[in-house]
């Protein structure tokens, strides 16, 4: 059987929801989970699969959204769901998509576009699973979405540092002490920017926040419609890990965007498009000071003015010196210096 090397797979065409009143009422993630009060990630799961619809398979790597979501006999998943290993969200998406594709093109299964979504937490995705996700984003012949729900720590195992934990945050692996006020000195990885920059044939990468639910669902729908492997990074406030009143989850999500700390954007076929309040920042609206965001959270309660100022400078740099503000952290050489060939 002769075949071309580029095999296009059909996808479901999921038009964006035009406003909250147009969102479908069916739920595919319902009761039966036991996440914490105020858990934003559970909301992300609900919105993610609501956006995807019933002809969807979801794979979940180890983390809160596995352990707290799927107790035997009480699954909240209405669509088929399967656990995958902590570092395997990329492989789970790829394997499921490849299995479906093989069976459909060989006539062993009814051919139809089935959404394949694999989710991972920040530990499973940005730490352990980054290699497999990266590989999957190069396999353009298989349709899948990898959604990183980032609550900025290993929250299921008692709140430990991940590569996505913000600078200085108090976790059980980075407790502030008398000799060291700041145990965690690393800056958070830029996952969406890295995935977009590093995988030229991945057609769609986006950042989302469930504080903006319709916008978030529409990014999921776009990712599934466009085809090939796609990636979405969701920032999820976590009352337990961030130490705040559960009623503030929605507000903290908004503040993460309004302070410019977490930009909302999508990269489609290499073009960056800011959206929501991030777009307003790009167009000139002032960013709120990061202290408004940080001081609402117990994990930063040990911060001094010096720490707050450092944090603010780092966020300012994202917006003032990055080649593509808050997306790609490269800077051009100073024009006059480069003209002189100075090093």
């Amino acid at each position: 059987m002769a075949e071309t090397t580029t095999f296009t797979n059909a996808t479901q065409i999921l038009e964006p929801f035009r406003g909250v009143k147009k969102v479908t009422i069916e739920e595919y993630f319902t009761s039966g989970h036991r996440t914490c009060q105020g858990c934003e990630s559970a909301l992300v799961m609900k919105l993610m699969v609501k956006a995807a619809g019933p002809r969807t398979i979801v794979l979940g790597s180890t983390g809160c959204m596995y352990v707290a979501n799927t107790t035997y006999y009480t699954t909240p998943w209405v669509v088929p769901w399967m656990h995958t290993q902590l570092g395997s969200s990329g492989s789970a998406a790829l394997g499921t998509a490849a299995g479906l594709k093989a069976l459909m093109r060989k006539g062993k299964m009814k051919a139809e576009p089935i959404n394949v979504i694999a989710f991972c937490g920040d530990g499973g995705g940005a730490d352990m699973g980054i290699g497999a996700i990266s590989a999957t984003l190069t396999h353009k012949e298989y349709n899948s979405l990898i959604l990183l729900y980032d609550n900025e720590s290993y929250a299921n195992t008692d709140i430990q540092i991940s590569g996505m934990t913000p600078f200085g945050a108090h976790t059980t692996f980075s407790p502030p002490g008398r000799a060291k006020r700041i145990m965690h000195t690393r800056w958070k990885k830029n996952m969406a920017g890295m995935m977009a920059a590093g995988h030229p044939e991945c057609r769609y990468v986006a950042t989302v926040c469930a504080s903006y639910a319709v916008e978030m669902m529409n990014r999921v729908r776009r990712a599934l419609t466009i085809g090939g492997p796609t990636f979405i990074h969701s920032l999820d406030p976590c009352p337990k890990g961030w130490d705040y009143d559960p009623m503030l989850s929605h507000e903290l999500g908004e503040l993460a965007i309004e302070t410019g700390l977490f930009p909302l954007y999508e990269v489609e076929d290499g073009q960056v498009r800011y959206y929501g309040k991030t777009k307003a920042i790009v167009e000139g609206r002032a960013r709120k000071p990061v202290r408004e965001y940080l001081l609402k959270q117990g994990r930063f309660a040990h911060f001094t003015e010096e720490d707050l100022a450092y944090f603010q400078r780092k966020v300012d740099a994202m917006w003032q010196t990055w080649e593509i503000p808050a997306v790609v952290p490269f800077k051009r050489l100073d024009a006059t210096k480069s003209a002189l060939g100075a090093t």
Partner: protein, 409 residues
């Protein structure tokens, strides 16, 4: 198959090809209409992936061929492809197999009937491409069916049998076929390749049934079970492994009916054991030098035989005990090690000791370790082991030690 080194007469419709063990597996996979395969390079198993790549490039096999970025992903990808109903193949060697360990652990409880080729290789460090069996043996307690083969023909036939057994709804467990690195993965022999029609008679399509992950069958797979259910799930796996004994015997009988070849005893090959005073035991291609040595020794009047163990999991306890308890002494030659284990023996020796514990007649058992890292097992090594077994037979007891053969002092 009384003498595995001689090929069965070719049926008219069989093709006869000069191919290596790895290539023979690739022939079987083509006949089995494999759906998804994942590759990652490590010697020596990777020859099978090279052979499959050629088949796909030439259009002889239509399958998703994914080159993964490491063995962990390699095994996870096919695990997931299997859950949506695809027939899958994977494989590795040595530390590559170890790198996939997490995925190897979860495959049996997920009841994924993956078939793998382990091209047995020493576990680096120090660097070594040669054969040792410790890689495949990592998973011996975890619900994998494990077998060892010693010829290209057996590689092809066992691959078809492995799918038939693994994908049987009574089983749904993964199966790893072990082929000694270099000695079998890279060595060519004349091999009969049956026609596709016969394979279709023998091997039904993989049917995932009620475990299929599909929007029409919205199930939740592998939730948090904890102390509420884990022990029951382990027990189910254990029952499946028990049933495998029956299903393997059925599969070999059916294979014989369809293809006109296959041993009467699937579990182990007996070579000149009928009247044997000393029976040597081993797995894989170690059979070749042992058989030569046995013929030489028999020419000098020593009645020596070989039991070449094919299936290690499930372990053929009763049949093996029956075969071995007739001997005056047993010599187990392990191509593996189990450091700190009882008598510091190899894995096979200790398994057989355990199996013999309740036997009415327990001949002295001597344990040998040989051929590690791919070192040749020589005729001299076999003669030496046999002499020691005769000594134990005469004394009526074993020395309860483990002897390393062919090691520099």
């Amino acid at each position: 198959m009384a003498v595995a080194t001689k090929a069965a007469p070719a049926a008219a419709e069989d093709k006869e090809l000069l191919i290596s063990g790895s290539e023979a597996v690739a022939e079987a996979l083509t006949l089995a209409d494999l759906d998804v395969v994942t590759a990652y390079p490590i010697r020596p198993y990777d020859t099978v992936m090279q052979a499959i790549a050629k088949k796909i490039a030439n259009g002889q096999l239509v399958a998703e061929y994914i080159v993964a970025e490491g063995e962990h992903s390699q095994f996870e990808i096919v695990k997931h492809a299997s859950t949506v109903g695809a027939r899958v193949f994977c494989g590795s060697s040595g530390v590559g197999w170890a790198y996939a360990m997490e995925c190897l652990v979860v495959t049996p409880p997920l009841r994924v009937p993956m078939v793998c080729l382990v091209g047995n290789r020493a576990l680096d460090d120090p660097g070594a491409f040669g054969v040792e069996h410790n890689d495949a043996l990592f998973v011996r307690d975890l619900g994998w069916m494990l077998c060892w083969i010693d010829s290209s023909q057996e590689a092809l036939d066992t691959t078809l049998i492995a799918y038939r057994v693994a994908e049987d709804r009574r089983i749904f467990l993964p199966c790893a076929i072990s082929a000694d690195g270099a000695f079998l993965t890279h060595s060519q022999a004349l091999t009969l390749v049956p026609p596709k029609e016969k394979v279709d008679t023998f091997l039904p399509r993989y049917n995932r049934g009620d475990l299929l992950l599909h929007p029409d069958n919205p199930i939740t797979v592998a939730p948090q079970a904890n102390e509420d259910w884990v022990i029951e799930i382990r027990r189910q796996n254990d029952e499946a492994m028990k049933r495998a004994s029956t299903v393997i015997e059925e599969a070999y009988a059916d294979f014989r009916r369809v293809f006109g070849r296959a041993p009467d005893n699937p579990w182990f090959e007996e070579y000149m054991t009928q009247d044997a005073e000393v029976v040597l035991v081993g797995m894989g291609t170690i059979s070749l030098p042992i058989k030569v040595a046995i013929r030489e020794m028999r020419a000098k009047g020593k009645k020596v035989g070989l039991v070449r163990l094919r299936w290690f999991r499930p372990f053929p306890t009763e049949k093996l005990v029956a075969a071995l308890s007739k001997a005056q002494a047993i010599g187990v030659i392990d191509r593996d090690y189990s450091m700190g284990s009882p008598f510091m023996s190899g894995v096979v020796a200790n398994e057989i000791r355990a199996a013999m514990y309740n036997a009415d007649r327990r001949p002295p058992l001597l344990s040998f370790i040989s051929g590690l890292g791919g070192r040749e097992v020589t005729l001299e090594d076999v003669y030496k082991a046999t002499e020691m077994c005769y000594g134990a037979a005469k004394a009526g007891r074993s020395d309860a030690k483990t002897h390393w053969l062919g090691v520099r002092d």
